[in-house]
Symmetry: C2
Subunit: 343 residues, 2 copies
DNA sequence: TTGTACGCGTTATCAG
DNA sequence: CTGATAACGCGTACAA
C-alpha cells in the first residue's frame, strides 16, 4: 500500500498552538472547558495542517464504537435492502453508523463476520437470514451465537434460535398468510397452491403451517402436489411453476413464499403462452418491483417503517442501558393489486 | 451502553501461558517464529478464556486497515447494489472488506462520510454518484476531494471531476446510446424520444449529447419536446411519459435514461390504457427487474463483471504499490428483449 | 481554563 | 525461537 506523509497528531497541533495536547483533545471532543479564543486558535491550526484525528486511537481509549454490525444474506435482494436502508437512516439519527456484511446465507461466512464484529467491538449486531432461519441449526451455530452474545448484544430480525435469549423482532408471517387466504376466499378461490421456499427454513415452515391451518379452517383440501418448495429466487419460482403446470388438475390461485418466486412463476407462464390471468398470484414481502411488474402483485407488506423502528428502538435502549422487551412481533398488511381476481 | 466484562488482553493470555505478550502477539499474527507446541498452548488458552483481539489497537500500531470505503447514492437501487456486491466479492478475495455509505446523492452527506473514511484510515475510497456526476461541481466539492486524496486514494466510478487526477473507471455511455440507436434504426424507427435524467448530471448530459449526435448521423430530426429530463426514478419516468403523451405528434421509440424511468413510463401507459406495444422502449443499466417486467426491457448492460474487475484491479495495484493506469473505459453491450419491435 | 502523566491493547524493534 | 521495551495517537483523572 502506498505510503502517505507522516501522520499529524494532536501533539503536532499542540506544539504549533503553544498549548497542551490535552487542550487539543478537548477541542476535538467538543469539551466546553476550553476558552473560545484558544479553541479557535487550535481549530485554525488543525485546518492549516490538514489534521485528521485517528479513529483507531480514539476507539482504543474510549473502548467503544458507534458502529452497528449488520449481517444479512444479500443486499441485492430488495427485501433486505429495504430493511437495511431504513435501519441505517434511523440509526444515523442516533449517532450510529452501520457496517454491512453479506453472508450469502453461508454459515462459515457468518462466522467470519461475527468474529470481525467482535474484534471491531461493534455496539451491537443486527442479524438477518442464514442460520437464524434454520429450524434446526447445528450446535456449533448456536454456541457461536451464544459466545458472541457474551461480548456484544445481538438483535435477530425475522429469526430465532432455540435456547438463545437475544433480542428478537419478527414480522407476523402467520398473519400475512391468513390475510392472503382470507382475501383469496373472498374472491371465490378454493384451489390454492404454495410455491417456493425451502423446508427447514423457518420462514418457509412457518408459512406452510399457517397455510395448512388456514386451508383447514375453510375446509379446503390441502394437495401435497401443489406445495412446491424450490427456493427463494426468481429462477426457483420459474422451476416451481414449471413443475406445478405438470399436474393434471391445477389450482386457481398461487401463493408465493415471497415476491421473487412469483415474478418467476409469471414469467414461466408467459414463456409457456399461458395467460397470466389463468391464475391469481400472491407474493410476500412487497418489494418495490411488485408495483411495476405486470400484473402488479397482490402481496404482504412487512410494515417496514414499524419493523425498522423497533430494531432501532432496541439499539436506543441498549445505548441508554435500559433492558426493554426482548421480543416483538410486527403486524403485516395486505396490499391488493392486479394479480388477484375473482375466480 | 451496557458494560461488559473486563477486557481480556494478550497480557492475560501471556500470564496464563507463561510466555511473553510478544509470543502471544506472534501467534495472533500467524508468525512462523513460534514453536508449534507453544503455539498450541497459547491457542488453547485463548479459546478457553474466549479471547478476542482488539482491532483498534492493531490498527493503531500497524497504521493501516483492510477497509475500503464505498460511497454510493442508494443501495436499494439495483444498479448500485449490483456493482457493490460484485466489488465486495472480489475485494474479499484480496483480503479487503468494504464499508458502505449511502449518500442519497447529497453533498453534505458525502462530506461527512469522506471525513469518516479518512478518520478510519481506510485503504482507499470508491466513489459513485453525487458530486462526481455533476457537470459543474462547486469549488468546495472539488477542493474537499483534493484534500481527501492527499490522504487516501480515490477511485471514481462513472464520474470525473475537472482538475482531479484520481483513478477513474467508467462505462462507455456514448457507446451504449449508439448501440441503442443503431438497434432502433434497424427496426425502422425514425422518431425517437429521450426521457428521464437531470441536466447538469454528467450521465444525462453525456447521453443526451450522444443521442443528438446519433440522430444527426442518421439524418433524423431532433425534437426538443421529446426530450424530457424529469429525474432518475420510476416516478420520474411516469411523469415524463405523462408529459410526452401530451404532445400532438408522438415518437415510435422511447429511450430511457435508465431502466427505472422506463418501468415508470410503461406503467403510465397502462394507467392511461395505452397498449405498451404502441412504442418501443429501451432502458439503460440492465438491472435485474428488466428481465421480469412485461414487456421485458431491451437495455444496455454495463458489463458488470469487467467494470467491477477493473475497480478491484486498481485496489490491487494500490495494495502492491504499483501505479497503474488512472483511467479506464468499459465497453457496454446491448441486451435485446421484448420491449423493442419493428415499427 | 489549562497542563502532567498515564493507560488503552496491540505490534515493531532489537537483543538474546 | 523468545522476551523486554518502546511505540502508535488519543482521552482523562488529577493537579494546578
Amino acid at each position: 500500500m502506498i505510503k502517505h506523509k507522516k501522520n499529524i497528531t494532536i501533539y503536532d497541533i499542540a506544539k504549533k498552538a503553544n498549548v497542551s495536547p490535552t487542550t487539543v483533545s478537548r477541542v476535538l471532543t467538543g469539551s466546553p472547558l476550553v476558552k473560545e479564543s484558544t479553541r479557535q486558535l487550535v481549530r485554525n491550526i488543525m485546518d492549516e495542517v490538514d489534521f485528521t484525528p485517528n479513529e483507531a486511537a480514539r476507539n482504543l481509549i474510549t473502548k467503544q464504537t458507534n458502529t452497528i454490525g449488520f449481517i444479512l444474506p444479500d443486499i441485492t435482494n430488495p427485501f433486505f435492502s429495504q430493511v437495511y436502508i431504513e435501519v441505517e437512516r434511523k440509526a444515523l439519527e442516533l449517532g450510529f453508523n452501520i457496517l454491512l456484511r453479506n453472508s450469502m446465507g453461508r454459515s462459515e461466512v457468518e462466522s467470519q463476520y461475527l468474529k470481525e464484529f467482535t474484534e471491531k467491538r461493534v455496539a451491537c449486531i443486527v442479524f438477518m437470514g442464514g442460520r437464524i432461519n434454520k429450524s434446526n441449526p447445528s450446535d456449533q451455530e448456536v454456541n457461536e451465537i451464544l459466545e458472541v452474545m457474551n461480548k456484544v448484544p445481538i438483535i435477530m430480525v425475522n429469526g430465532k434460535m432455540k435456547g438463545v435469549n437475544c433480542y428478537r423482532i419478527r414480522t407476523n408471517e402467520e398473519m400475512g398468510i391468513d390475510l392472503i387466504i382470507d382475501h383469496l376466499i373472498e374472491l371465490g378461490h378454493k384451489e390454492i397452491a404454495l410455491i417456493g421456499g425451502i423446508k427447514g427454513i423457518t420462514s418457509t415452515d412457518c408459512k406452510t403451517v399457517a397455510f395448512k391451518r388456514a386451508m383447514k379452517k375453510y375446509n379446503l383440501k390441502f394437495i401435497q402436489d401443489w406445495v412446491i418448495p424450490t427456493g427463494f429466487s426468481i429462477e426457483d419460482g420459474k422451476a416451481a411453476m414449471k413443475q406445478l403446470l405438470q399436474n393434471k388438475q391445477l389450482p386457481t390461485a398461487i401463493l408465493g413464499i415471497n415476491d421473487l418466486v412469483i415474478y418467476g412463476a409469471i414469467r414461466e407462464c408467459r414463456e409457456q403462452k399461458i395467460p397470466t390471468s389463468t391464475f391469481s398470484f400472491t407474493g410476500f414481502d412487497d418489494i418495490f418491483p411488485s408495483d411495476i411488474v405486470h400484473p402488479s402483485l397482490t402481496t404482504i407488506n412487512h410494515n417496514y417503517d414499524i419493523l425498522t423502528s423497533e430494531i432501532v428502538k432496541v439499539i436506543q435502549n441498549l445505548k441508554d442501558g435500559k433492558v426493554g422487551i426482548k421480543g416483538k412481533i410486527i403486524d403485516t398488511k395486505l396490499v391488493i393489486r392486479e394479480s388477484t381476481r375473482k375466480v
